[in-house]
Amino acid sequence: MSIVLVFLAVVAAIAAWWLSQQRLMAKPWLEQGSTAAFPRTESGSMPAAKIGLGVFLAVVGCLFALFASAYFMRMGFPDWRALPVPPTLWLNTGILVLSSVALQCAVFAARNGQFDMVRLGLVTGGLTALAFLAGQLVVWRQLVAEGYFLSSNPANSFFYLITAMHGLHILGGLVALGRTTAIAWRPEQRDRLTLSVELCAIYWHFLLLVWLAIFAVLAGWAAGFIEICRQLLT
């Protein structure tokens, strides 16, 4: 459980930093009047959707941290036989990076009002994400062809389970991306476009980050990091 504790420590640090900005030392029973004197504690000006996405990403991060925790705890048992890393995963990683880059380009274009570029970026991002999912399926087929079945070893089970979870999150993101792309073709909804594109891009970057972490864990490069986490906690 060391990984999830480290993850929660990060969340707690962010929460503590935010709380420290909120005048928790105030004595509300001695203060009355409007809040002109302490403007920083008003509800922020950041759009609610962005905050909502941030909170959601914390939940998703916690989910994958828990999967990773379970992975490392199960790994210690003697029946664990690590999987080989299929080279196709490198290609898929490249595609997912492209997808993120395309969406980031769409964000810049939306801020500059270049709507053709926004559409190009969104469509490229969507297609590359689909290509990533297809690539993951190809990896699954390759592993099955080589005899690495879901239930034949816990390492295989975790591989399929965690990649499936990540893929499902990408699929969910594609629904949001589809809606954003629809907005991009309607000029009358342009005021909503920038925010929508930004939200998609943030989500994509986050899932890319999660993927890189998963990749490192599944390929066995993260063991050193885990050792550090464990050392920190004990």
Binding site: Q32, G33, E42, C62
Partner: protein, 592 residues
């Protein structure tokens, strides 16, 4: 009092917060069924939770029938008994308490108390309820599935949860239970995002964090915890589902069952326990923190006195929330863990007693020399304090490894957790319903029925669970459907069991009176008016009662003060609403 405005007399500038575009329903269906109004969703959540809660009540009767009068009722087979305790526990903890506190009270009170028109993502909020309802339906469907519901115990420990000997283990029961939990977590996450972001971004002008009523603080912190804890349940459920359906071995060790080697091998049941309790312990505080918050508000309002130590109360809520993530393994002392590991978790467990004790002191000091009105909500709030202290003290016993090991498998544990996270939060739910029912329906609940309900429930719950401590100390094991002739048990233990069962029926009956009161008072209750308890918080200041769609009429209220200005010396009335400007207060002071 210090005015923090540069010039108290100057008018407050108009609200700069942009008006939120509200979704306006067009038909009966979108107004009352597929509604996006948090208040309607709150009522849907509460009604569903109370409905499934009554199923759990009936199950508890069946459990007590068996325990009190073993061998008398043929239809309660050992399998059925385990199915009853499993479903009773799961329903009460997750589908009733969590859903009612966060989905019910959270939805109703957060927007009203922080001065918002609605939740920030009303559509997602609606989805949250419907997924919750689906989860409940899947759970209920397991009663009708072949083999019946799962009988694995509410903790669903593998390997027994998915083996043939356990009811529902190789039938539909466990699959439906795990699916239902997965749905619940998804639905809750949708709702939880709303509660958190509404508190962060939806607060009206002047509503700083330190002016929030403690109810909102409690629900807010509990929601943050739930968002981070429920993924652990999700992960555990998904992995167990794979073990059961696709034959993986995440949790399943090599097992020979009825002479046959199962296909599983090498898995770790302890891994499941870690995941489960990583969710399970914060869950205790997920239902306790909203209760803490609500009780603080009830006590302050009905004792006509400001809450004692507001800042400490807020800090304690946050500290309890954070600490509750590092104590989970105290549920696993008997799982064969390293002694130093147990020592660490015993220490963190006992540390939680400090912020909790601060809260209890502050409640008691709020009551000290207050103008206590023994209304029904106040009675429930007072009952909560004693019950929670009671359950908390036995928690200190069980938090120590050496005491826990001999007591872990006895009725003492059952008594402890029923007191601290069964009776105590439910008593708060009752108090809160009596308190806010007038706002929700515009009518008061019947006082006489309320008094009857309170006294029978409170005294009855003590008569049920207090003797259970003694049974536990005597060595009566939990999880046994029948004690039989155990040499260590005297005849009085059996008599006590029968007595507990009879009390359980009486207390259950009182809940039916409460249910009748809820329905009867909608039409026949006394007219309540907008603010029957003369309370300060914003939900009592709405132009209409029950509050209309959009909550606050044309303009959102502006908040000028904290939520606890009761009995302020020199004020015209013994309460000053949060949205009353200082100038009006000054004028009233001048008039005195």
């Amino acid at each position: 009092m210090v005015d923090v405005t540069p010039d108290a007399a100057s008018p407050v500038p108009p609200a700069e917060v942009a008006e939120v575009e509200l979704y306006h329903p067009h038909s009966w269906w979108t107004k009352y069924v597929f509604s996006q109004d948090a208040k309607v969703i709150a009522i849907q959540y509460s009604a569903t939770a109370l409905g499934i809660g009554f199923v759990a009540l009936v199950l508890s009767w069946l459990i007590r029938l068996q325990l009190g009068f073993p061998g008398t009722f043929d239809f309660i087979t050992p399998e059925a008994y385990y199915q009853f305790i499993t479903m009773h526990g799961m329903i009460m903890v997750i589908y009733l308490l969590t859903a009612l506190f966060l989905g019910g009270f959270g939805n109703y009170l957060i927007p009203l108390m922080v001065g918002a028109r609605d939740m920030v993502f009303p559509y997602v909020n609606m989805l949250s309820y419907w997924i919750y309802l689906l989860a409940v339906l899947v759970l209920v469907s397991s009663f009708f599935a072949p083999g019946g519901p799962t009988g694995a115990g509410w903790t669903l420990y593998p390997p027994q949860a998915i083996m043939t000997g356990t009811p529902g283990g190789q039938d539909w029961g466990i699959v439906l239970m795990l699916s239902s939990l997965i749905l619940f977590v998804i639905g809750f996450t949708m709702g939880g995002l709303n509660y958190v972001v509404t508190v962060l971004q939806g607060r009206t002008r002047g509503m700083t964090l330190m002016r929030l009523p403690l109810t909102v603080w409690g629900i807010f912190t509990a929601t943050v915890m739930a968002l981070l804890a429920f993924p652990a349940l999700f992960v555990a459920c998904v992995m167990m589902l794979l073990d059961r359906v696709l034959g993986t071995s995440f949790f399943m060790p090599a097992i020979i069952e009825m002479g046959e080697q199962l296909q599983h091998g090498g898995g770790s049941p302890i891994l499941f326990q870690h995941l489960f309790w990583f969710f399970g312990h914060p869950e205790v505080y997920i239902v306790a923190l909203p209760a803490f918050g609500i009780v603080s508000d009830l006590i302050s309002t009905h004792a006509r006195k400001n809450i004692f130590g507001y800042r400490m109360m807020v800090w304690a809520i946050v500290v309890i929330g954070a600490l509750s993530f590092v104590v989970w393994a105290h549920h696993m002392y008997v799982s064969g863990m390293h002694p130093y590991f147990g020592f660490f978790f015993a220490t963190t467990t006992l540390i939680i007693a400090i912020p909790t004790a601060i809260k209890v002191y502050n409640w008691v000091l709020t009551l000290w020399r207050g103008d206590i009105h023994l209304t029904v909500p106040m009675l429930f709030a007072l009952a909560f304090i004693v019950t929670f202290v009671n359950g908390g003290l036995t928690g200190l016993f069980l938090g120590n490894v050496v005491v826990d090991v001999p007591l872990s498998d006895t009725m003492f544990v059952v008594a402890h957790f029923h007191m601290v996270m069964g009776v105590a939060p439910i008593i708060v739910i009752f108090g809160a319903i009596y308190h806010w029912y007038p706002k929700i329906t515009g009518r008061m609940l019947n006082e006489a029925m309320g008094q009857f309900h309170f006294w029978v429930t409170f005294l009855g719950a003590y008569l049920i669970f207090f003797p259970m401590h003694y049974l536990g100390l005597m060595g009566v094991p939990r999880r046994y459907n029948e004690l039989g002739d155990m040499a260590l048990l005297s005849e009085s233990a059996h008599q006590l069991n029968a007595f507990i069962s009879i009390m359980a029926f009486i207390v259950g009956f009182a809940q039916l009176v409460f249910l009748f009161n809820l329905i009867w008072s909608i039409r026949h209750g006394r007219e309540a008016g907008g603010n029957p308890w003369r309370a300060t918080t914003l939900e009592w200041q709405t132009p209409q009662t029950p509050p209309a769609h959009g909550n606050f009429g044309k303009e959102l209220p502006v908040v000028y003060r904290w939520a606890y200005d009761y009995s302020v010396p020199g004020a015209k009335e013994d309460f000053i609403p949060q949205n009353e400007p200082p100038s009006a207060y000054a004028a009233s002071r001048g008039a005195v």
